[in-house]
Subunit: 488 residues, 2 copies
């Protein structure tokens, strides 16, 4: 791993590089730059990795992607596919060997087709997620994938990482929203699997193999995605509960009472909530924070196909009964779009802001069976306190999917170098607890570079061997996104 | 392919066969029989294939399955996994070489766990689908997979073929209902992927690779499946429409009006409906059949989380507005469970009965994008009439998923040998039309043996090559269910 300063002082690539000239003949010279001239392609989103690349090339079409890959395969040059470059695990950043060529998909940004009778949209990989949502809305439909980086992440990256987000509870992960794919293989062939079919049992499921493979098996260049009716009404509630067990009881009632209308069920644990109040005193919070660490808060959203009134009544009925039955302590139901946006802002913006002000955290993107969440929170906290007394845990996340973002911060008496020093041990401790409860150490962000070396500790040798066999079968020369997901 | 008479006269296997003895030491001698003594394991459900097998072995646990497979792998003996043996494409029947051993999963029939907070059930592969449904209902939940053979097909077979059925529109195929799998590999190792996780992006999607692989990559021995709230009310309507275009217009209105409450949308085309009236005059049909072949009929079901009254009102609103707007001609809404069951009986039982009485049909299990269904029906009918004048087409199916069961029957002036003689040409004609419209020649039944040799005509060489590479990577000695799905 090099750092930014080193990269900046490295010598410029030779502009008469015959590889760059060959690539320029395919995509036009203006769309090939030496790696050194494209620093934004070399530093990951969290600024933990600074890589080098021989070139960054920007093809404009699937045919050009295929031709570029054929050229690189002929030279034996590794390929790093890149979309919005928003990976949280360094999945789209080249390593520091300087050998790889980054293929940016951002010029593949067309909406190829909208089929209203089939409820599908076909888009190219480089289109920003927000623009996919917009195109669906312009057609009177909903494309429900929604996540923090939706303005800058591309649908190709969402597919490569099987992105999750806040509506998985109702609509599933990116995988569940995808009917067909177009993929350029490591040999530069084009697999046209852009089928708009809801049922197709005619062979192995190549689609789902490429989805979530993080660019290590091929380059996704386009996808046919499912659309849904737009909800007629959305209502948001914010609920305070005494314990995490009560959160699960509320989730059960909400699943039963709302069915498919339940589109978000997000947990904020007491300490994470209290930190927002402490660090961002100007934000108006629905409730005053309380000293009891066991307090939990839930942001709940229903999306109704009938009417505002129907949504409001359902929400009042379910939340009201939860309070009557002692499951919830108190609740606010947003009366206006502005109130609803403020509640979402707390979840999507303020949590991260408050932690950023507090200092460095060690993040974990974990999942367990929903039933194991109370156990996970309790045993992990206890184990952390025993080993690293005073560390603070800020946890929140998509509890309806069993997915928590579990952030460990310094003891108040220490500075942030404390957790940085212990990062590896803290990660190992948290990941062991997760694994013991049947969970995953990467729920929605993927493995990329930052968890690659963790996998062998948490997967069985058999599972790793099966993955290696698939990698070797589909990328026999190992040129696709090397060093990501799997060890060499 | 041999026939039943030949198989019956074949000589009995040698009962001192050392292989059978070795298998008997693993599972108990009572659970190993020579193939000749287990004829039900050798003839497929549609009685088109009669195979032979060296033995049929019935392990009682995953560990026994693994040990049996290791033993067979050591001998280099092919393995045919078998559940309820209800494949419609010969997918679970051994070939006639007599070399293979059939592994019956039917003794693996336990419910291993129900996790209500996680909304999951973990079951073994040999459990009949009906019993999975029952176990879910006993726990106060819904397992929504539902299909004609649910009493006898096993969940392992449903998984191996990614079974579809009548509620795919709302809940998806078997794939979409599955969170985790346990699989015995062709080397006899056990992959424990029984994760109850809704989000897990920690490597390649092995789960979805095994699902739908028809026993050619390994043996699924258990699965963790998703559960849903039971609907509070279900309402069924039967609707008559002038044309297939109106069916799509009604589908759009139903998706918009019911959202996730729309749980079935089944098409019966005019000629198929008229045949029921003609062949089964004692059945009381909702409407008299009409001579216009363009007439279409839709069985529509809504599943409501609120109340009977809410379901009824929604159904009356949507169906009423479709009639007012000229989309539908007429409709009946079932007033009682008995009426609803009668409508479902028409769809699930009477259609098949009437065609059975009429004589042999050439069946096709096809899908296209929903928007292409009118085009598919028109152009295929025209092409068939030009080439085989007078043939009759009985089509019905899950139009909300783009999936039709398209059956071609003899001209009235001919006997059934007419279509039998032309079977290959009829299939090729229909499959070419489907492929030209971006469809699949196997929507939900799988490929098995009967469509194996069709695939090369309808998939690209690249897709077939990718599938072969995966097969070779995961089953390098080619012992898993040979001759199914892929050519040798």
């Amino acid at each position: 791993m090099s750092n930014i300063a080193e990269a900046a002082t490295a010598s410029h690539a030779d502009h008469s590089d015959p590889l760059l000239e060959a690539l320029g003949r395919i995509v036009g010279a203006a769309h090939v730059v030496a790696g050194i001239d494209a620093p934004e392609a070399l530093t990951d989103y969290r600024r933990r990795y600074v890589g080098r690349a021989r070139a960054v090339v920007r093809p404009a079409s699937t045919a050009e992607v295929a031709e570029v890959v054929r050229e690189l395969a002929a030279w034996g040059i590794p390929v790093v596919p890149q979309g919005g470059h928003t990976s949280l695990v360094g999945g789209a950043t080249p390593d520091d060997s300087g050998e790889a060529v980054v293929i940016s998909l951002k010029r593949l940004d067309r909406v190829r087709a909208v089929d209203l009778d089939n409820d599908t949209i076909t888009v190219e990989a480089g289109l920003a997620l927000r623009k996919v949502q917009d195109a669906a809305r312009d057609a009177g439909r909903l494309f429900p994938l929604s996540l923090g980086s939706e303005d800058s992440s591309t649908i190709g990256g969402n597919l490569a990482t099987n992105a999750g987000g806040v509506q998985v509870l109702r609509y599933g992960n990116t995988r569940d929203l995808t009917l067909g794919l177009e993929v350029v293989t490591p040999e530069g062939e084009i697999w046209n699997g852009l089928r708009g079919l809801r049922k197709d049992n005619s062979g192995y499921d190549l689609r789902d193999l490429y989805i979530g493979s993080e660019g290590t098996l091929g380059i996704i260049t386009a996808a046919t995605l499912r659309l849904f009716p737009q909800p007629v009404a959305q209502r948001t509630a914010f609920i305070k509960l005494a314990t995490i067990e009560n959160v699960l009881a509320l989730l059960n009632r909400a699943r039963e009472g709302f069915g498919a209308a339940l589109t978000a069920f997000e947990l904020i644990t007491g300490p994470a909530y209290a930190l927002v109040e402490h660090q961002l005193p100007d934000e108006r919070l629905p409730f005053a924070a309380e000293p009891k660490a066991e307090r939990s808060y839930v942001l709940l959203e229903v999306s109704d196909g009938e009417s505002e009134q129907h949504a409001q009544e359902a929400l009042e009925r379910v939340v009201g009964s939860a309070i009557e039955n002692g499951i919830a302590i108190d609740a606010v139901i947003a009366d206006s779009l502005a109130q609803s946006q403020a509640l979402w802002r707390l979840r999507q913006v303020n949590l991260a802001q408050s932690q950023l002000r507090d200092g460095r955290v060690i993040p974990h993107d974990i999942s367990v069976p929903i039933s194991q969440i109370p156990q996970l929170l309790r045993t992990t906290e206890a184990a952390l306190q025993q080993r690293f007394p005073g560390v603070r845990v800020f946890a929140h996340g998509h509890v309806g999917d069993g997915n928590l973002h579990y952030h460990v911060a310094r003891p108040l008496a220490q500075d942030e170098s404390h957790v940085a020093e212990h990062e590896n041990d803290i990660r190992a401790l948290v990941h062991r607890q997760v694994t013991a409860l049947g969970g995953s150490i990467s729920a929605e962000h993927g493995v990329g570079r930052s968890k690659r070396d963790d996998l062998p500790h948490y997967k069985t040798p058999l599972e790793l061997a099966l993955m290696q066999r698939i990698k070797h079968a589909l990328d026999p020369h190992g040129i696709m996104n090397p060093g990501k997901l799997l060890q060499g």
